[in-house]
Subunit: 289 residues, 2 copies
């Protein structure tokens, strides 16, 4: 029999993940702060829980994917929080991007109640979430991963077990630091070229036949050239991920020079943004208005 | 009849380019500050000129590829310099990486003597130079490119005409800024992961199935993990290219935050390097000794 799955967080990522869980035939109970966002999943057969605690108490495997550390702490430890509801022997998978320290704190709380825990942030964006082709970066025990893998199979295609709890978040923060810097690098290269009076498309053409070509640049270059920053991965979330990476670096006593500079640049664009924009909007750093 | 080709600069790039010109059957006259480096090409049939001026006076198409702006100014305008030797109606192709301003200055000097000029820096590294698969980033006139293309065909596979003189150098500086930042990003990501106690190979694995995968990272990641920094593209040259990019940005009145930070980091590693190392040695930024 298929395990009953709980899903907390129905944002850009959570909503399509929920749809894929239903498609794969898992009984699904969901919760979201804005209940409105659950409507479509409920129409397709999901139950809507009264609270995170209520969802947690009804499921064998609980998946959380919320926007930041404070949102995660709230759904886990807040009023009617999920940790109070989770049964002994159930499993919690957190696919939010948070600090490795928070992942370890959750692992500890779970261990006290004999709940298996994986930190399992994802990469692949909304496109990957919709197609069920996410890549999971996982910290935790191999046995836990084996146990929940049938659930994850509905959502992704690659599952990297990277070490003990916290390792998934560590690698995710490093990954997003690299992606943020790749797009920052593209934006700086384009600005250098356009401010010199050369067509920016020329740089893209050459880049695509160079060692520097990368899917993220193929995707973001047209977005930057058209200045259509409809969010695929929102800048506010990338900004939060760079902040978490910089905090981790500080904890570890290391300096990340380009990361620090990019963090300042993303902060400046975030402060100025009037609406939710994709992180490729880092290219508007040089626009004065 | 094949044009007589001159080649000035027989370093890591120039030497294999010379070999490919001979292989393609071009009569070749070469010159290098250290004559020693010409021996193999001379054995294979090249003539060794007495000076840059001497080489220039004997050829229809002159190719220069030296390490930096001052070396280029020296071979062009110095004692027995090439510009004094070039015949009316000949063509000069400079594949060094220098500032767009210097490229425009050369173009002006050439125009006064009815010499066609292209700034045509390359990407593809020593591997591309050896295989004859370089990518040329070209500034200048279409007719000039058409005229010298049979010569360039012996050296490369893609020829991007990017705008008037200077445009080739502009795009090259932007390209190398992007490559330098991609490798800086990889190094920072790896340092974040290792300082957290996670295996660096794990980050590489995940990166290779992400949107951030790029050939330059595939090539440099093993170099960084093995700490074998035998130069493929020397850090001192990448450092010079970032410096030129930052100078261009300053001329254009724009700020490049991550570029500036990376320039500081590459400077620190360059100052500490005891031997010639690849630019992937930026990953030794965090090694205290």
């Amino acid at each position: 029999m298929k395990p009953r799955v709980g899903l907390i967080g129905l944002g850009l990522m959570g909503a399509p993940m929920g749809a894929n869980l239903l498609k794969a035939g898992f009984p699904l109970v969901v919760w979201n702060r804005t209940a409105e966002k659950a409507r479509r999943l409920v129409d397709e057969g999901a139950l809507f829980g009264k609270s995170p605690e209520d969802v947690a108490s009804q499921c064998d495997v609980l998946l959380t994917i919320v926007s930041d550390p404070s949102a995660l702490e709230e759904v886990l430890w807040g009023k009617d929080g999920a940790l109070a509801g989770l049964k002994r022997g159930s499993a919690l998978i957190d696919s939010s991007t948070v600090s490795p320290a928070l992942a370890r704190k959750i692992a500890q709380a779970c261990a006290q109640k004999s709940i298996d825990f994986l930190d399992a942030p994802v990469t692949g964006g909304t496109w990957g979430a919709e197609k069920g082709e996410l890549v999971f970066m996982i910290g935790g025990k191999k046995e836990t991963l084996e146990r929940v893998e049938p659930v994850l199979q509905a959502l992704g295609k690659r599952f990297f077990l990277l070490g003990p709890n916290g390792a998934g978040q560590t690698v995710k923060l490093a990954m997003n630091l690299i992606l943020a810097l790749q797009v920052e690098a593209l934006a700086e290269g384009l600005e250098l070229v356009t401010s010199s009076g050369v067509e920016p498309t020329k740089l893209i053409e050459v880049l695509q036949s160079s060692m520097g070509r990368a899917p993220v640049l193929d995707v973001k270059a047209p977005v930057i050239l058209k200045r259509d920053f409809t969010p695929s991965f929102p800048l506010r979330l990338m900004h939060k991920d760079i902040r978490l990476a910089m905090e981790l670096a500080k904890e570890n006593g290391i300096e990340l020079p380009a990361g620090a500079a990019a963090y300042q640049a993303y902060s400046a664009v975030k402060a100025r943004a009037k609406a939710d924009v994709d992180y490729a909007a880092i290219a508007s750093y040089w626009k004065k208005n």
